[in-house]
Symmetry: C3
Subunit: 398 residues, 3 copies
């Protein structure tokens, strides 16, 4: 068998993706449909190449700077994997180790880390109104540095999760859906339930459900958002979902009834998150350094959560879905009843039945991130794919 | 002078090592003699190549994941060196930075870090009954992930020290012995004293002495294990040493007298460790989170240690050895009397006299680890060595 | 446009730089003028190559060990960038993660981390009389290890800031000056004011001003050191500056009047530092673990600083300089009045006016470090530059 990438090259032909070059990936809804689809195509192509032992190295050297302002295992490893496959070396900007905490401005730090950086990946999801704003400040700073001749190249940003969106997650989720249902052309009219679910923890980011409704509404699917009253998402992301649905000939509906969302669903995504207003309140408490207030809010939120302990993905709930076999999704780690907690987002038998598929869902993330990097660094991505395989390609391992 | 690797290639010929491919290295006694010797051969070959400025890169990209559940300098650097020489990039799974502490299951984490991982190195030596078990869970998890198509490749594990064995240490020690005595054929009948020694610290792992008696008994040597009563090793490792000695035409003896062990010894390895039963007790106290109990046990153990403060490697003790010039060994760092502590495992003059040799002993570890990786990733290791030098090889540095 | 490195190659011809090979870079005043200029030439050459997308990889593999005993963002990233561009992988020796804190001797650790290390970079600037001494111990240890055959190669050291000098900073600063004034031949008679400035923090290292007066006095400039009484630098560095000035046909003067220093200056470098004697006292307090004494010293020093709150770089001060347009310099981060503190080293309008130039000043550091590595690892640097571009060079990014 020879390496054949014609399919991927053809898919990229004529696409309106020129604006991706030397640009950032911050929110999926800032990207046009061609750009979104190009990420899927390149992710599939890179995966195909790596699984056929072809090196995807487009850099001989270079840094991929990572800045994680929240804990992370899978996104950290996905970023490291993507950078490594393309030939970049990860350099962590660890706020503990660095002088950032000592009052350096964002502009200065952004430039100081970027003299030889090709990519910057940032996770900053803890505080409403902060993460995405911070990323834009970094992007603006390095653009200015590049324009002024301070930086020899403009490092491009990848949003590894902010307060608004989690594009590497939602894109990996979407690519999983596309492969599961045999192509994007099969998704029209499919129902996906993005539902809140109970968790005994508090303060989980809103960016996963927001990212899901902001992206999945673009493929003609019927996206149903379900949550108890009080667990509203940021209103701007609701508007985006509504607009997307209208443009994409699908639908976007909201309900406060988990069952209604699950009924006849082809896909279910039950996951806990914190109420937007509580997160705004928390941000303000942190700004005032009001630890007493934070503790009280936490207690209040956990108590509030408990009122909805029956919002959980049981076999009974699964039976409501289309033929009882909807695709169960989660960004992991899930709070599994009787396993990681007494009562959680999902019952163990459901989770276990879908474990293999959940791991495969997660497995798309390194390639999604690599594709985002690839498309922002290659002027002609189709041509670069051809270059990579020219002469049979270079083996990744001897 | 040209590069000539015929010697190493010939040594690998006809060896029963097929089972090493895509397999883990967890305990030396799970490996047959050919496999053990192949590690030595490949370690020597890689060292020869590197010292002749030939690149040993068999990977264009790829991750070597490291998970250190205990502090480490030399093993961390050895692992990093080995990975780097073969072309892999180390990505630490730092439990502080990651979500592991938040209840992720081993199976899930093992898969999440492995989408692009070729090797996983784990140090988990703190608790009796835990470390090796954990490694096997990880190995089983990635095997399952590979079988189910979640992982494109099966990352192979290297045990960087567990509760039972410390194979990268004992193998480096053994290769040092082989070179020091001019070949494995000269070891028959040589006496090695693996002796407990006093240290003012507590809770040192048992895996070094266990690894030493489990491995050194395979080469026809007379292995003598010495320790005060109460400092017994895990009984299963004693059985292994006994069986090995019987099969290998050497001997394995035990004594509670350090002098007896040192008498006429060709090699001495005086080193502190904690009593097995105390370590078991400690594990249970940690499980119960009984910090008071842990403190009391610590006090008790230090007091117990003090009864054997004369178990130390003095010049007088060294004089008991064969012609007074036995090879002194240690895994480092040693507790040196008057240097790193008031009373320790070894007197400063003895240690200083052997310093150069001790450093050389440590210098085998990066190559042992590289060889373990090499043999688990190359289907035909002899052929791969030939590939590496084909056309004169690629220079490691210009 | 083709790649043309003739200029750089010619500059290296006939230079007395043979002693740099396999040698360390610890203090600028240990290097002869040819060696200092060779660093600038190679830094410029590597920058030219990288900005023209030529790979600077002279290593196929190898480790660059970093040991930061103080926080750092820009030096950490500069070191990582330099190592990466030349083909080395950074491995941090993190004292938190390692066993160093547990009493390992310097000699032992230096050897244990160096079996496959090509470069070691150390920042150790906290205690007077300690940092540089520590670096020399490491250098001696690896030299001994190499001589004894413990190490296959002698890793070379780069001083990333010690108690005496900060050569990567002063050299980057100097290269910035050279480029700003259009060549080293234009610097004769130029006045540079290295002045103390007020900061509300305490204990800032002396190595930046010491490095500056120790280096800048070599280029025929009039170097004026200004500080309040009590903020003296280490006397040995004063002697070096005096000797340099005499040899280089420039001058070195001292004053306790900031205005006098700024008058008709072509370059100003206002920056805070701690008084030498206080730092010596602090070192002793730390040695005695006298936390009460440390607190009192801190209070005393901050109070002492406050007496000189008017030592700050205002527009008014800048107006005193040559035509009011002196080049303002700083190693960053600066304490900016009204931005990072109430009263600081520089007024915001001055800082903002020079921001672009300050960032460019910082941008020389990765190349200075890369040049130091390059010159210590290449026997014939000019020939190596030619090798790098032979056949058009290898692209850094496809």
């Amino acid at each position: 068998m020879g390496i054949n990438i014609k399919k991927y090259v053809d898919e990229l032909k004529g696409k309106d993706i020129a604006a991706m070059f030397e640009n950032d990936f911050l929110l999926t809804w800032e990207k046009n449909d061609d750009e979104i689809n190009a990420v899927f195509t390149v992710a599939d192509a890179l995966r195909y190449l790596r699984e056929n032992n072809i090196s995807g190295r487009i850099f001989d050297s270079g840094l991929a700077v990572s800045l994680f302002r929240d804990n992370s295992t899978r996104t950290r490893f996905s970023f490291a994997s993507a950078a490594n496959y393309l030939g970049l070396t990860v350099q962590d900007l660890d706020e503990g180790k660095s002088q950032i905490a000592h009052g350096e401005t964002v502009r200065e730090t952004a430039n100081m880390i970027s003299f030889m950086a090709d990519v910057i990946g940032i996770r900053d999801d803890m505080f409403i109104g902060k993460g995405n704003t911070y990323m834009r400040e970094v992007a603006k700073s390095v653009q200015q540095g590049y324009d002024e001749g301070v930086l020899a190249q403009r490092p491009t940003l990848v949003n590894l999760q902010c307060d608004i969106d989690h594009p590497t997650q939602s894109m990996a989720d979407m690519l999983h859906i596309i492969h599961h249902f045999g192509g994007v052309e099969n998704l029209k009219g499919k129902k996906i339930a993005m539902s809140w679910a109970y968790s005994p923890s508090y303060g989980k980011p809103l960016s996963v459900p927001q990212g899901v409704i902001g992206l999945m509404t673009r493929f003609g699917m019927d996206v149903c958002l379900a949550h108890p009253k009080g667990y509203e998402l940021m209103s701007e992301t609701i508007t985006i979902a509504e607009n997307n649905a209208r443009a994409g000939e699908g639908s976007f509906t909201k309900t406060n009834d988990m069952k209604e969302a699950f009924e006849e669903a082809d896909i279910v995504y039950p996951k806990s998150w914190a109420p937007y207003e509580a997160m705004e309140k928390r941000t303000k408490l942190y700004e005032k350094d009001d630890s007493q207030g934070i503790k009280e809010l936490e207690k209040e939120l956990l108590k509030h959560n408990k009122e909805f302990v029956d919002w959980t993905c049981t076999e009974k709930m699964m039976n409501l879905t289309k033929d009882g076999v909807a695709l169960y999704m989660h960004c992991l780690p899930a709070d599994i009843t009787g396993v990681s907690c007494e009562k959680g987002e999902v019952d163990a038998p459901v989770f276990n039945r879908y474990r293999e598929l959940l791991y495969k869902e997660a497995g798309f993330k390194p390639y999604i991130i690599a594709a985002m990097m690839f498309l922002s660094k290659c002027k002609d991505p189709a041509d670069m794919l051809k270059k990579i395989v020219s002469g049979g390609g270079i083996p990744r391992s001897l």
